[in-house]
């Protein structure tokens, strides 16, 4: 059977709004981020790994014997990616950049925007720091972006 252009399509739309629970660990993380500009992780009392984003259990030890610890708003750039498309798929003149930063004093990290630097100025392994938003609301966008640590 040869494929051809169809004469008909049935048009529709699926629009559903959600109210996602940040979870026990997420709620504490976003509250401390909003109220104290702190990055919190959870440390496994068994293996001592510090998880960021925090979780209520350690997936290695499979225990919930965890304690909250503050980690530095600084770390090293693990990798980064630039993008010439907006989130809704439009082509951009100037790319935006996302990076994964491993946070000091933790075994984890965060993915966020990279600011105050072009892709050419970035290098895997370079020190980065968090720039916080002034008016914070209790979500991941309370972090404005990561920027390279100034010498």
């Amino acid at each position: 059977m040869k494929l051809k252009k169809p004469e008909m399509t049935i048009n529709g739309e699926i629009q559903i709004s959600y109210n996602w629970s940040p979870g026990k660990a997420g709620e504490r993380f976003f509250r401390d981020l909003r109220d104290h500009m702190k990055i919190m992780g959870t440390r496994c009392r068994k293996c001592s790994r510090v998880l960021v984003p925090p979780r209520i259990f350690c997936e290695e030890c499979f225990t919930d014997d965890m304690e909250w610890v503050e980690v530095e708003p600084k770390g090293t750039l693990a990798t980064f990616g630039d993008c010439y498309f907006s989130t809704d798929g439009k082509r951009l003149e100037k790319p935006w950049i996302l990076g994964i930063v491993r946070l000091n004093g933790s075994n984890g990290g965060l993915i966020h925007y990279i600011g105050e630097a072009t892709a050419e100025e970035l290098k895997i392994g370079m020190p980065m720091e968090i720039v916080f938003k002034e008016q914070r609301e209790g979500n991941i966008l309370d972090i404005l972006y990561f920027r390279p640590v100034k010498e």
Partner: protein
């Protein structure tokens, strides 16, 4: 003790925007083709296993239910599997489990994806990210792959030019594949000149969105021996999964696919393969992006770790090379209807049977390997198939 399981038929169709068809019609086409290929009737099939990665592509939730009638599944035990992109190989592994455990003798495995039905495949992809820590930032597939590809090239000192050679190879190979959506005669420079999606990934490093389905029929040993004198056996299966929290993985680097090495080791141990680079004759390697073929060649042991650049530079993975990879064109050339990436397994079967048509490689193929990848750099599924 697991029973031996053989592949006894495949159902192919062209990957394309199949806008004249429903999911059900697409599935009927490949199911019938597989029955014809295996010389079987609908009544012979004991059970059906479906694989589809993301329902939101076709906009019908639990889309497996629309495929029951068309898959020979009526009044039979059916089941659906989904492990993101790795659905393409984890689904036939689920079918394998059905036969190996002794429950069924003939299982139809159907994988499909209809990605042309939505207004934006990227919008669908954006719904797979973690809602609290990742999605609000606007991560998308291009950057997701840019992050990984950059870490990979950095770790092993590989180049964009080597990536481009994979695109030239696979899209060129697809010129011989009648089921391919995007065969192209390219040059390395042309790939390098194509626009960046996210460094180092360019448009021509990327596989196209498409529609399509594939079917395979799996049989127990005694049934397979009734159907054919020289069955193609499933010799090894393996799967590995890593944490969804990709920002804090144990190995500290997205460049190395620990979970894929794990999946490959399982499959090779089961198949008794000690030196894959020497013992594997042919490979269909999951290549949604060119660097993924390179990473997967390493994880599957087809070249040394970090050696995928040299492998393509030396022409080893070319159709006429000593270890051809994706002579079908892979996802780059054939198209990438996520779940229906089971095409990788179909082409291993066709190469072993000597039925790959113009894609047939100029060497004997007794043992072949295929894999698939998915999730937040998370899943890998590996299958080794071959003759006795």
């Amino acid at each position: 003790m697991a029973r031996r399981v053989a592949l006894v038929g495949v159902g192919m169709q062209k990957f394309d925007f199949r806008k004249t068809e429903t999911v059900e019609e697409m599935v009927f086409d490949v199911a019938r083709n597989a029955l014809e290929d295996a010389h079987l009737q609908k009544e012979n099939i004991d059970s059906v296993v479906f694989g589809s990665a993301v329902d939101a592509f076709c906009g019908i939730n639990n889309s497996d239910k629309t495929a029951i009638d068309a898959s020979t599944g009526l009044w039979k035990p059916t089941m659906r599997n989904s492990t993101s992109g790795s659905t393409a190989v984890s689904t036939p592994i689920l079918g394998y489990n059905h036969v190996a455990c002794g429950l069924h003798d003939l299982v139809m495995v159907i994988c499909f994806e209809k990605m042309s039905e939505n207004a934006s495949a990227q919008a669908v992809f954006s719904t797979v990210y973690d809602e609290a820590f990742v999605r609000p930032i606007g991560l998308n597939v291009p950057i997701q792959c840019g992050l990984e590809a950059r870490a990979y090239l950095h770790r092993y000192g590989l180049t964009e030019r080597q990536m481009a050679k994979v695109s030239v190879k696979n899209r060129g190979n697809a010129l011989s594949n009648p089921y391919a959506q995007l065969p192209m005669k390219l040059t390395v420079d042309k790939v390098l000149e194509s626009p960046y999606l996210s460094w180092p990934v360019k448009l021509l490093d990327t596989s196209p969105v498409t529609d399509g389905a594939r079917a395979v029929i799996l049989a127990s040993e005694h049934v397979a021996r009734e159907l054919t004198d020289n069955p193609v056996w499933i010799r090894g299966v393996g799967r590995g999964a890593d944490s969804v929290w990709f920002m804090g993985r144990k190995n500290n680097d997205l460049g190395r696919l620990d979970y894929a090495y794990l999946a490959a080791k399982q499959a090779y141990d089961m198949a008794g393969i000690k030196n894959p680079a020497a013992e594997i004759d042919y490979a269909e390697v999951y290549d949604p992006f060119t660097y993924k073929e390179m990473q997967h060649c390493e994880a599957l042991g087809l070249c040394p770790e970090g050696g995928a650049g040299k492998m393509i530079d030396d022409g080893i993975s070319l159709k006429e090379g000593t270890l051809p990879v994706n002579a079908s064109g892979g996802l780059q050339g054939e198209g990438n209807p996520i779940g229906a990436g089971m095409s990788r397994l179909c082409w291993c079967y066709l190469q072993i049977k000597g039925q790959a048509g113009d894609c047939q490689v100029p060497k004997d193929v007794n043992t072949a390997v295929c894999n698939a990848w998915g999730g937040m750099y998370q899943y890998n599924a590996v299958m080794v198939v071959g003759r006795d």
